[in-house]
Amino acid sequence: MASLDDLKKRIASVKSTQKITKAMKMVAAAKLRRAQESAEKGRPYSEKMNNVILNLSNGISDKENAPKLLSGTGQEKTHLCVVMTSDRGLCGGFNSNIIKKAKSYFAKILDEGKELKIITVGSKGNDQLKRVYGDKIIENISFKESKNANYFDADKVGKMVIEKFEAAEFDVCTIFYNQFKNVITQIPQAQQIIPLNNEGEENSSEESYEFEPDEDEILSNLLPKNISTQIFKAMLENSASEQGSRMSAMDNATRNAGEMVDKLTIEYNRSRQAAITKELIEIISGAESL
């Protein structure tokens, strides 16, 4: 049995851990509110963008000559996966969930004998993936310096993806991120951004548009922007998810630490009592023997 002193020290250390997790929870809660707000405010833009593209691609007359970003290269040999994770740890299952989702997708692609290339955004994802898929990772980007997700960073990633697409380095591009549902639920998502996957979303309006300049030019301008927008959306969702996930993880940790303190305190009191009883027995039996 641990000595009284040891128990005292442990209680003190668990208590200070609890203080840290509590503080982290508070910080995450404050950041979450901001991140959630910007994620929600960012949604209209990406939705509108998607709508416009949907309308455009429906209206396009010459499907054969549609821009490659929309229709794809015609084959599916090389897959590029952009895995978006956080730069910081201690956020529960946030990163592992994305990685798990991504890994199962990777396995599927490799099973089909296709080529795989990976871009990791955020250092945690890189850390987890480089052990198994180290040779497949072609780029690793991290935005440790930027405090909040901003469009400028997203645009950088977007431009890189497009550059690689134009250099014919891949055929299909998928991004992985966590969609923020609420504080306790974040859903890992795999979203294909090249070629644009609009099937399943039936557009009811058959209205014809007037285009200025013509469809092709608009599309070829719009599609690269859409890539950046989608990545930006993913970044916003991710940052809200990260904070939410961290908040609930730290909440759990605080609660667990509290339980542990209670348990240790009981043990401490018990052993203190035991020591007193032992001393009493010794005194009494000593007196009796006289």
Partner: protein, 130 residues
Amino acid sequence: MSEEFKVEIVNPEKSFLVKDDVSEVVVPAFEGEMGILKDHISIISFLKPGIIKILSKSGDENYYVEDGIVEFKNNNLSILTSTIFNLADMDKSKQQDLLKQAEEEANKTDINDQSKYLADQKLEVLKTLN
């Protein structure tokens, strides 16, 4: 019947402006300025750097944009843009900053014709503001 329609301006960070008592909007479309009134035909177009004028009952507003997409449909005008400033909030120093940036951009030699054109446009618009 009223001659008003709804306009919505969104940028990636947020929904920038929503107004539903607008009588006319003038946008700097790629191929020239374009005035949009109620019951305009559905249209999708691009913006070049310029001034968006919004005319409404509650007063006129002017915004400076650098790029964007306009979509008009069913008397809903959506403007998607990544850079937008309300001219009323824009002070001289901000204008000077933008002007300086635009000048640098326009003086670059290693850019293609289209970005050169856009940079020149930007410069011109900013100069007229000052």
